[in-house]
């Protein structure tokens, strides 16, 4: 660690830097690393053992309410997850299922009776549980789940039932081997009729580990990755649980058997429930971001000493990272990892503000909650795809060595894969982002023309995100400086870069809103479907903009000096590589001249060359504990 890398690390660490430092020093590699080549049974046993050991060490308590023995705050649980993601990802997902999904659902969807009864045992690992949402027939469209939970007034019980083969719960983590209890999402039905999807606590195994009567447990068996996670299936045949097992924070059945809820609208109630579970997506985004960083650390360290092919007239071969093509593979992705990391910190802070112990609630928070959900959904999609692609590119950049299990990339790549479709399919999530943006839009509809509306929406969203900081004013200042001189300003002008991101996001949203405004009852699906690529673009560019703003803000807030100067160039590389990827859009929309468009590519190449001497500093600044990078190729050749 140099002074520069340390200073940058502190910036990347963000608000929970102390916790990150604690985890770096406290966790031993053997506590969270996996072992390649074990059988599925061995992997599962190892992961369960590690999970219980981490629970013993107190890691299960992070983020739970203090009054039940929890520790630290809600945001801290996301940060701990990010740090644990530098270890084995099967273990990470198992931790996420137990403490995040299962424990989180009991906390957020349940009430005091559930908290006092179960949280202590969940944190300690004494009670292992599943999160039973997905069904064979329904992954993304959770509102159409088919499992039923029917209230029986005669016994005050609720009957859980799987009516069809497509209603079987599947891909459920912890199910095949460990869970004693599951949070089951099902259509709640009383005498009055259906009330939409609700969650209930359903015991699934007895103390000896056998399935309880009426519960059929299956094993999803071998998967493309995450071998240590015991994904499985649950089917219920008229299984009865006490009414008290309904997680009743948002809807309940009173003593007279009548359904009661503070939220009358079934649709709104459903999305409010789901909204309280937004942490899962925050964690998946953060965890996959960590994986990308670890892969980059391995590939960059290897590329910094691996030699292949001699330059004309040279006897010694060239270090592969001195090749432009190699830099092109790794450095823009490193810059993007920085950018996403800083954007991730902001959503984690925002999550703590809105969902942490001190959250105020109320109308204003509802608006902020929607903004958070939109941002989290998009950032999860963008980060998981970034991670998948980055790990793959790193694997290829390491050649055959990258394919060997000992060099860690293969398992990471296989594990991260599923992050792109679980906790929300990425394509569906981006549509959710667009829907969020367009909803804001609709509410401002009135007589405004689309351009004016986009201005308002985009301002509102930006302000929502940075209102607690002086960041927005800073960003606005940079933007204002850039206005009106697009083609004259230097490519490394931050204001110009920000303006390009803003224009891309605003224009795509504005035009998609115009297209969709023509929807009538009869053509709605056709119209929406025909614009789907445009909708996805609007969502992605919106997220890109948010990410760029997070990076610009963080650099601007640094003290002048070599660390800031270095970060400034990394930020420019992120910005220009993103603009370069969308060159066609900028050209088509007259936002870049052809001359300037070519200059962008030249400048990306130049920045790669400029950053080349600093790559190890930039990798060190990621703060990945050295003990977790066991890949022999990442070791310095002198070591």
């Amino acid at each position: 660690m140099t002074a520069v890398s340390d200073e940058i690390r502190v910036v990347l660490d963000g608000a929970w830097g102390d916790l990150r430092q604690r985890v770096r020093h406290e966790l031993k590699p053997e506590q969270i690393l996996g072992e390649p080549g074990q059988s599925v049974a061995e992997q599962r046993a190892r992961v369960t053992r590690q999970l219980l050991a981490l629970a013993d060490a107190g890691y299960g308590r992070i983020g739970f309410p203090a009054q039940y023995g929890g520790e630290l705050d809600y945001g801290a649980s996301c940060v701990a997850f990010e740090m644990q993601a530098y270890g084995d990802l099967s273990l990470l997902v198992k931790l996420g299922v137990q403490f995040g999904l299962f424990g989180g659902a009991v906390t957020r969807l349940g009430t005091e009776r559930h908290h006092s009864a179960y949280l202590a045992d969940i944190m300690s690992g004494k009670l292992l549980g599943s999160f039973g949402m997905t069904e064979v027939g329904h992954g993304s469209n959770v509102q159409r789940l088919e499992t039923t939970a029917t209230y029986d007034p005669a016994t005050s019980e609720i009957v859980i039932h799987t009516p069809t083969a497509s209603a079987v719960k599947t891909y459920i983590g912890n199910a095949a081997q460990d869970a004693q209890m599951a949070v089951v999402f099902a259509q709640l039905i009383t005498n009055e009729g259906g009330h939409g999807v609700h969650a209930l606590l359903v015991p699934v195994r007895d103390e000896a580990g056998n399935a309880l009567p009426g519960v059929t447990i299956g094993d999803n068996g071998v998967k493309a990755g995450l071998p240590g996670v015991d994904n499985g299936t649950f089917a219920f045949d008229q299984v009865r649980v006490p009414k008290a097992n309904l997680l009743n924070a948002f809807g309940d059945i009173d003593d007279s058997g009548t359904y009661v809820s503070d939220i009358d609208n079934e649709n709104r109630r459903f999305f409010t429930m789901l909204g309280t579970l937004v942490r899962g997506r925050v964690c998946v985004g953060g965890g996959s971001g960590s994986s990308a960083k670890k892969a980059l650390a391995i590939a960059i360290r290897y590329g910094d000493h691996r030699r292949q092919f001699e330059a004309p007239g040279d006897e010694q071969e060239v270090v592969v990272l001195d090749y432009l093509a190699h830099q092109r593979k790794l450095l823009p992705r490193l810059a993007k990892s920085y950018a996403l990391s800083l954007a991730q910190n902001i959503v984690t802070e925002r999550l703590e503000e809105l969902h942490g112990a001190g959250a105020a609630g109320g109308e204003k928070d509802q608006e902020a909650q929607r903004e958070l959900e939109t941002r989290v959904a998009g950032l999860k999609a963008v980060t998981t795809w970034h991670a998948l692609e980055t790990i793959q590119v790193c694997r290829e950049a390491c050649g055959g060595a990258g394919y060997m299990a000992e060099n860690q990339l293969g398992q990471m790549r296989a594990d991260v894969d599923v992050f792109t479709t679980f906790e929300g399919d990425n394509t569906v999530l981006l549509q959710l982002v667009a829907k969020g943006l367009l909803t804001e839009y609709k509410e401002l509809w009135g007589d405004l023309d689309p351009a004016a509306m986009v201005g308002m929406v985009s301002k509102q969203i930006a302000e929502g995100a940075v209102e607690r900081t002086t960041g927005r004013a800073r960003l606005q200042k940079m933007l204002d400086l850039a206005k009106g001189r697009d083609d004259d300003s230097a490519l490394d002008d931050r204001g110009w870069q920000l303006s390009m991101f803003e224009q891309r996001a605003d224009h795509t949203l504005e035009t998609v809103a115009k297209r969709l405004r023509k929807a009538t009852k009869d053509n709605a699906f056709q119209l929406f479907n025909g614009a789907q690529d445009h909708v996805l673009l609007a969502a992605r560019t919106h997220i890109d903009r948010i990410v760029m703003e997070a990076f610009a803000e963080a650099v601007d807030a640094m003290e002048d000096g070599p660390a800031k100067a270095l970060m400034d160039r990394v930020c420019s590389l992120y910005a220009l590589a993103s603009i370069e990827e969308d060159k066609a859009w900028f050209l088509e929309h007259g936002r870049l001249t052809t001359t300037r468009s070519r200059a962008v590519t030249a400048q990306v190449n130049q920045l790669c060359a400029d950053l080349r001497p600093h790559v190890l500093t930039l990798v060190d600044a990621l703060g990945i504990p050295d003990g977790l990078i066991t890949a022999p190729i990442a070791a310095s050749p002198g070591a």
Copy 2:
């Protein structure tokens, strides 16, 4: 199979259609499918067992010389490989190592004494062998291998030795468990000095399977994929083999201990030797192409019945392949699979012409050989990346189900991964393509200006490929029709499409040649390195052009009717999706107006919609044996 899909299948099958049909009907699924979840030891045992069974069934004989018991022709071995690639890829690679790399090297680099001694046992699987090229320190730069083969005139033996840790042979298939013998590539040294890299037969295990004295065999252990392939390491400590073990087709040591070769230039000799092994790359390209097709068949069949989310006003949910975003993921990739398949057929035919039993040899063939190598290198890179990306997209398009081993995509994805860096790292191969093009260039240098030279080179290359057919004349006719009316011609005008591919390839090559022409002894590396992204673009666009021409030619040669009409649209989708991907380039270089550029995207969307009703026909036409698609999600829901 409908008449249409059958007609298209025959076109895709190409020259070895009969062999493909034979394999389709003859091979039982259990002969070539793998089993998910087995341990590495079980996978290896299963793969060895399957390999020996296939050898018993005669599959090892395909492509070997008839006089030693071989069967069919050289090109046929590539086609058989493509068909076997619909099964387990560990088995495929194991077959490739035994019969292709090991057997191929003995055939092509050895002479009669090696053929008569070993080929029968190689074909029958009695003699299992390795191909010992890659070393720890040298993967791509094979000329710098460090293993030595020193001739000892006292005993007429050659001493094989591993002088350093970086000289250890590694990632060698068949090494860890099965090989009794290895073709070892080493620096051949006689009293006169070094003669560059040569190949030798080195026994490595005794009959009981123990390493022979002086040979240290290691196990690469668990990998990111290909669990059934026993990759391992060889280190040699002064291991002596008879002089006769030198594979002496291109260089020998005579009885007086003097090195003799028909090719004086060491560099040329080395590349001539490697050139005879070009089949390996043909196979890897073809095999990965098959994998992409199988993944598309699974994802498209699932997407054709999986439903998720209801359209407004509809009770039933929408079939996911009716969504534009889903079509966008799968259909352009299906079109590209068609295109690559047809281009692959051409290189296979070309390989047979130049390397088959009837090959003439001579000057003309040397030029053709260089053209073949260039084309094969590029097609291998483009196809393996296409396969990797396609399988991944298919996995995601199938959601959580795509991640389950039973649905076959995960293992394929993990296995195909390494195809991007073995048999030549893709990035290095694309540079080889560019080098090939620029060499032609240089030879035509003289006083011509670069544009005129590119015209000549590109004409020559195109003619080289299609001279045996009337295809070139056809292509030229389509091109001529399109000239001079770029912006007026319809987007589905084949001539215009071809012209866009031609312009992109020619212009990138022309400009990169101009840049590199400025090279002096002092700036050569800097200049080349600074242009590396440009060099890679020139290579890739050249291959894209060749692929497009293969598709256009095949469609043009079909009889008029519904099959041709359908193929015509698939070809347009391939063309326009490729143009769309490089929109920025076409805009920057004034080859597309912004209006037309947007129209390209709209037309890609339109073609996806047009082809949507025909997807199952197009999948059937791939001719993948149904028994090899065991993924439950690919079964029709009524089945």
